[in-house]
Each structure stands twice: as structure tokens, then as C-alpha cells.
Symmetry: C2
Subunit: 227 residues, 2 copies
């Protein structure tokens, strides 16, 4: 039997690299999917290419999405500053409205074209920024929608959304990826990285990442601007 | 009180023009949203601009989506022919996988940015081509997802997806739009229209439209290639 195909959302960051390694480890033939959506941290697309290549995805597509023009987030609107980590529980300025819904919807379209019934996404409900579309109930609701929305679903071929990091802390994710051979020096998590791929060290994403390496007892291979 | 805002998906076709007129008639301040997704029938974007302008949408955005590169549909893949109407109940080649899921996801993002809680879409479960994402159960599933996926939903501001044509035949839609003052000569429904906006007269979409005008007893203002 040929291997089962899976679409894997790959941002170029630590989480999605771990998820790609996990999907490969589970025997899926992986189709990596990234988005150029006007994000300021464009260097992450270069990281996504490196990650897809190093972890031997079968294919890697970068899809252009003009959603940045709608504004509303510090990640796509250059007039808004990327905030430093504050520890607040409010939903921060870096939230891109409906981003995971949009990304999963396009993954669902590609899955249907490839006749894949599995989609992997690296969201976590722990050590995250309080985004509503990172919660397990969001994944469950999307899975239900996927079954109703597609030709495959109508024909009884249900789509499974895998969120294997959902209940892992950042440290647990890093330990998992390290076991699976992920080279985290090639990933980029920073919300305001330089074009050369150096991380700021101060945004939410950098903060969670650095704390994760510390908690995991694994040296942090990230290249920071001031280091 | 300021008018309530609504996002209205506007393709440039007959259905979405009717929906925009209906949303305006109901007193919403309408934000028209169209997509340039690599569709062959690019002339529909010109029609979308005319429709948004004639029906006085507050704003009109055309968002570029690179999903055509994923292939899988005769509407975006120029190597596949657009089929003539066959009357078959199978899902046809013109089906774009997960298209309405993707369009609604982006509408949801814009709605959150504008603090709108209403999205209008011109899908119908009657006189359509058997697409799974045109059924009322799809709309219900998306509405549930929207509540869970967004900051607004988490804060108790539920998003309503309006599909006012859901149970209307094409003839009923045309009668409704005519009452609301829609100028259908400015709309374009054809899947393989010429760049100048002439309709082929033979695809599913042309066939449903022509039959709709006949059944409504209203002269068909469409400009066909051979007429």
C-alpha cells in the first residue's frame, strides 16, 4: 500500500518543524504548506523552506494570500509595533484574525486535491499567546466543518486534523523534536526577525521559545540580534 | 446608533449581487469582498467592481489568493476544460475544493477587524451544481466554528452567516433582485466568459441563469458570445 498523504502546515518555526518531524515519523508522505500573507517576519518563509527540505517533505508549497491588506494585526500591519512579551492574558496585537481558520481551509482544499485525509498543525493550548484559534475546541469544530464542506467528506472520507502539540508545553515540544532529530537552529519563531533571520529575543514568541529551551535543559541554538 | 456592518461576498455574479442588494435593503453598511484566486473567468472581477459600486457598498476589497496554483478545478486549471451543462448530479470539474470555506474564513477575518458580526453569502441549495459547500448544513457548521475561532466569539459576540438565497430557486432570486433594483446586465455568471465579459451560454452557470430568467418571466439581459 502507498503511504498515506498528509498536509502539514509549516511556518518555519519551532512548533511546526516538530509537527512535520512527527508526521514523517508516523509514516505519512508529507506535503508542507506555508503562506506568504504579508507577515513582517518574512525570514520565516526561508526557514520554512529549510525545514521542509531538511525533514524531507515530499512537496513544499508557499501560497500567496493578500490578507495582510485587511490589516488588524501587528504581524501584517507595519504601522503597529510588535509588542514585547508582557505576560498578560489578553489577546495581543500579534493576533491575526481568523488566521488558523484561513490556513486550515486552504490546507483542506489541497488535501481534497491530493486525496489526503490528514492535516497536521502545530498549535498548542499551552505556552501560547491566548489566541482563540489555538484551542482544542477550535480544532474539533474545524474537523466537523471539514466533513461537511468537502466532496471527500460527503463521500464518507473524513478529514482528521492532527494537533500533536496541543497538550505539550514548549519544553516538551522541544524534547520531542530533539528526539526526532529536528535541527532547531534552522527554525525561526520570532515575530520581528531581521531579514537575515536573527531573532529579536523580546517578543512573545521569542520569550516562549527561550523559556522552553531552558526548561527542557537543551541549549538554545537561536541566533539573536544581540548575542 | 450607527448602522450595523456586514461583510458581503461579491463574485460579480447574479446571486451575490442579489445578496448585496438584500443586505443594503436590510440596513447594513456593506463591505464587499471579492477574490482574485486565479479563476479563468477574470472578467467576473470587473463585474464585481461594477456591482459593488452600483449597489453602493461602503468599501470593496479584492483579495489575491494564490490557491489556483494548487490546481484541482477546471475553474483555475487551464489544462482542464470547462464542461458544458450535462444535468448530471455528480460534483463537476468546476468544483474548487474548499472554496467557500476559504472565502468565509477570510470574510470572518475581515469581520473581526471591522467588528462586524454579519457575513452574507449568495449560496443556494437549489439550482446549483451539487457543491457540498453550498448546503445549509455547511453554513451552520461554519457559524459554529466562527464563534469558537475568533476573539469576538470568545467575548460572546457571535457571528451570523446569512445565506438569504439558500432556499430560493434561481427564478425566485431573480424576482427578488429585480424588486430590489439590481441591474443584472452588469453581473456576470459564466464560468468561461471572454475577457470582454461575454458569457458562453453553455456552462452550468449560464444554463441555470438562463433558465432562471425564463422561469421568472423576466427578459435575460446577459450578453452572450453568439447573440
Amino acid at each position: 500500500m502507498p503511504p498515506k498523504k498528509a498536509i502539514v502546515l509549516v511556518s518555519g518555526g519551532l512548533d511546526s518543524a516538530t509537527v512535520l518531524a512527527k508526521a514523517q515519523h508516523e509514516g505519512f508522505e508529507c506535503y508542507a504548506l506555508s503562506f506568504d500573507y504579508g507577515q513582517r517576519h518574512r525570514a520565516e518563509l526561508q526557514a520554512a523552506k529549510r525545514v521542509a527540505s531538511l525533514l524531507q517533505a515530499k512537496e513544499h508549497r508557499i501560497i500567496h494570500l493578500g490578507i495582510g491588506a485587511l490589516g488588524g494585526s501587528a504581524l501584517t500591519d507595519s504601522t503597529l509595533p510588535v509588542p514585547h512579551y508582557s505576560g498578560s492574558h489578553d489577546i495581543p496585537l500579534t493576533y491575526v484574525p481568523a488566521r488558523n481558520t484561513i490556513f486550515l481551509a486552504i490546507a483542506l482544499g489541497w488535501a481534497e486535491i491530493l486525496q489526503a485525509q490528514d492535516i497536521f498543525i502545530g498549535i498548542s493550548a499551552i505556552d501560547y499567546s491566548g489566541y482563540p484559534d489555538c484551542r482544542p475546541e477550535f480544532i474539533h469544530a474545524f474537523e466537523k466543518l471539514a466533513t461537511i464542506a468537502t466532496k471527500a467528506g460527503v463521500e464518507g472520507k473524513h478529514c482528521h486534523i492532527h494537533a500533536p502539540l496541543s497538550h505539550l508545553s514548549k519544553a516538551e515540544t522541544i524534547r520531542l523534536g530533539t528526539q526526532l532529530g529536528v535541527d532547531y537552529s534552522q527554525t525561526l519563531s520570532c515575530y520581528s526577525a531581521t531579514d537575515a533571520g536573527l531573532a529579536c529575543g523580546h517578543c512573545d514568541s521569542c520569550t516562549f521559545r527561550r523559556q522552553g529551551f531552558e526548561a527542557a535543559g537543551i541549549p538554545d541554538p537561536t541566533s539573536y540580534v544581540n548575542s
